[in-house]
Symmetry: C2
Subunit: 310 residues, 2 copies
């Protein structure tokens, strides 16, 4: 597929983990003739310039999007609306406008009204990330073998959707399409509530740390260590996720609390049979995930750390 | 330190992940002149024989411990008492008896009364594991750079404790000592409750899978994927952990539920400031863990899977 770049000028609004990784992936693959970036923070812009994250860092969102045939909103979900309002008058006719927010319906509600006639708004969400953030955190392979969900609107131009899909695939990801509300429910289960739970557990440990001094950190066994990794994710991004996917998050949290109380009661009553049955059932889901190719069966509970030391 | 083996005959009761890894580590390091193993299940014994996991697999616990200068109880916490009663008459005078259970006070209560005069009972707990179990799951490097907590009794012979510690260190682990009740509280926070939460979240997803078909599995993002890995751990082992560390688990679960409800309320009320402050705080703990050398800063949210595929 060495047919030259898919887009002539890509404008990245926001220069964090996702945008940075997109730039590196697009440049590595020759997928964009020119990648222009803008971030609200002058410090982020300076860093991006220093490390050559994009072809050009500009000092306004308007300047970035001028003449771009692809504009990517890569800012926290809560900032999408304001950014859309700011860039709307400067968007080129025929341009594709997408985003990478973890919540889709609220982004559609916030951005949609600002999109000018003739611009193709195709919301998207790459299911990829690490616990790191900022302009130095990106890497070209972030999207490889990951899903990138698109939630086109009923009137989205199929050709524009296909063009964006081609870019996503060229960066190594798999594309799937679904409706925005459905996306938000699926992600509440698979990502948003698990993150909230990890944050909570780490918070509990933090209180107890005062009791047990540094032991909680020192003896952080596998379970907790994985939680702290999750709980180190970007606070602003996650605040916005929960505020903007409120209904689905609260729904799943309610189910989680019910379920936890049933297990808690089994522990209190000494009902080992219930616990064993429950824990046996959860193994099957794990097998499903391995079979779906989204993880390997290789054990890595803390193994990465051991390898790094030896 | 090529001074020959530390122990002459090591008896492993139970041939799962921990015992198997101990055998492999001891043999790799020449730490035991002979490693004898027993497991209750004939299938496990056959597998262990087939793969040569230990020097000799015997068909009774009594036979295994006869003449051993180190006996390791590597069975689920709930089975420790019965095994101790069975082997007690066959323990050699001067032998060291240890265990690898994830809960310490209940093991002391169950095993202690059976230990004959002249046998040194030194409870222990290696903070190491993977989500795999059984005789094929062990590997020699499992304990490297991990903590191995010993909870000696007030009358434990210091020389015996030192000898066991030497073995543990020779297998690559770091030794620390603490009192059993304190161990159980620290582990409730860092391991037991996080595991229960992971089991619960995977259970919630399982219910919803019927609603959203296979999408929950297909789009398992980083948070959930890490949870399923934890929730694939051995059901019998974990049932016993919760039943035998009931008080500390229920205490921490109570704190967790309180904390979660406060965050849930913040989401419901749209209190972004509270969420942001909370999420910022949890990052600091993560940094503490990296500084304590129990994990690396390298991002690996799903990266292992991507690498395996490419």
């Amino acid at each position: 597929m060495s047919e030259g770049p898919i887009f002539q000028r890509v404008a990245l609004i926001g220069l964090g983990l996702i945008a940075g990784s997109m730039s590196l992936a697009m440049r590595e693959g020759g997928l964009a003739a020119r990648v222009v970036g803008y971030a609200r923070s002058a410090e982020t812009r300076d860093t991006a310039r220093e490390i050559g994250l994009v072809d050009e860092v500009v000092d306004s969102a308007a300047e970035a999007v001028a003449g771009a045939d692809l504009v990517v909103l890569a800012v926290p979900v809560g900032a999408m609306g304001a950014v859309a309002a700011e860039i709307a008058p400067h968007l080129a006719p025929g341009a594709i406008l997408t985003d990478v927010g973890s919540v889709k319906q609220s982004v559609i509600d916030a951005v949609g009204p600002h999109v000018p006639e003739g611009v193709h708004f195709i919301p998207g969400h790459p299911l990829a990330g690490t616990e790191h953030s900022g302009p130095r955190s990106g890497f070209a392979t972030l999207f490889r073998n990951r899903w990138w969900l698109l939630t086109p609107l009923p009137d989205s131009d199929p050709e524009a959707v296909e063009k964006l899909s081609a870019l996503v695939r060229a960066m190594g990801a798999n594309v799937d399409r679904m409706e925005a509300p459905h996306h938000d429910l699926v992600l509440a289960v698979t990502s948003h509530v698990p993150h909230l739970i990890a944050y909570t557990m780490v918070g509990v440990a933090d209180h107890l740390r005062r009791v047990t001094e540094s032991e909680v950190v020192r003896y952080s066994a596998a379970g907790f260590r994985d939680f702290t990794r999750i709980a180190a994710s970007d606070p602003t991004m996650w605040r916005d996720v929960f505020l903007h996917n409120k209904d689905a998050t609260l729904d799943i949290l309610g189910r989680f609390a019910e379920e936890l109380f049933v297990l808690q009661r089994a522990i209190r009553m000494g009902d080992g049979e219930h616990l064993h049955k429950y824990f046996t059932g959860t193994r099957a889901i794990r097998r499903g995930i391995i079979e779906a190719g989204q993880d390997t069966a290789a054990p890595d509970f803390g193994r990465a750390a051991a390898k790094a030391v030896r």
